[in-house]
């Protein structure tokens, strides 16, 4: 997973996440929207056929006193927590 910062400001971040697709990006986007201090989060992805930029670009806008990169880290941990608790619940039922 290679990250490439496209645009970085105090309350806004655009970052390319190489090698990922909707599978992970949509889960991550939702985790970001659940994260405190995040005002907006979205990602943009082009189809293979379009040529050019095909890796997803994640854009995060945060409210004051939240750094976008910190929000991203929190969201990543949040995804990890979701997978852990899903695994626990699934194994308990199976």
């Amino acid at each position: 997973m290679d990250l490439r910062v496209i645009e970085s400001e105090e309350a806004e971040l655009s970052i390319e996440i190489a090698g990922e697709d909707h599978t992970f990006m949509n889960v991550l986007k939702e985790a970001l929207l659940e994260t405190e201090g995040v005002g907006a989060a979205t990602y943009d992805m082009n189809p293979e056929q379009s040529g050019g930029q095909t890796d997803p670009i994640l854009t995060i806008k945060t409210e004051e006193d939240t750094a976008p990169l910190d929000a991203l880290e929190t969201a990543a941990r949040n995804v990890r927590d979701k997978t852990d608790s899903f695994r626990t619940a699934f194994e308990a039922a199976a």
């Binding site: 990250l3 909707h22 995804v79 997978t83 695994r87 619940a89 699934f90 199976a94």
Partner: protein
Amino acid sequence: MSEDYEVEFIDRDERDARFVVRDITPAFANGIRRAIVSDVPTLSIDTVRVIENSSVMFDEQISLRLGLVPLTTPDDYDVGETATLALDVEGPDTAYSGDLVSADDRVEPADDNIPIIDLKYPEGADSPQRLEIEAEAVMDHGKSHAKHQGGVAVGYRHLQRIEVVGDAADWEDEPNILRGVIEDDGELVPTESFDHDLSKRYPGKEVEVHDVPNAFVFSIESDGSLPVSDLVLNAVDSLADRADELEQAVQL
């Protein structure tokens, strides 16, 4: 922030399972579905060495068929690792997936009865048709080729709840078809138990169907390369790995 999910099985089989997950968001449910289809690696034949092929089909056609045979996938194989198989059948006979002989006895065709090709012993020919090959199966992801997809029918739909809103009019005797799983008094009822017809379960009643928010019924069918439970857990692990990777990448 941590969620607690609740999982309850409706049907449970190695090949085919149905379960309800509660308090799950649509995005996460879809992430799991997509990961099952494209990110859980399985073994599949990828290189074929044709020693003899006097059948009526081209080597490439037979190789494609061999590639599509689901192979049981042990959990200690990594992506890119290979396993060797061989097949040697002479006519008049049909070569089946079950004729594949594997060097690793944990890697075998998930089904023995998939026909590869019918071999003849043509009248007047001095020898029967024969297919002899050696093949390398490789571990790879569903997104690189559909033959590596472990899940063949993977989906989810909302769990539903039925609300009785009144009596049906006397002339109303048409069936009211619903497919899926409904929740009734905290009990999960697959619709096949009442022939998918709500008018049989609630005769003479007018009903409304509501989706239960954030409760999804997953329906997962495996091609036999991995049991359904492994498919689900491996998919969840692949999401977890990427979350870890991202967290570390951000910290740097």
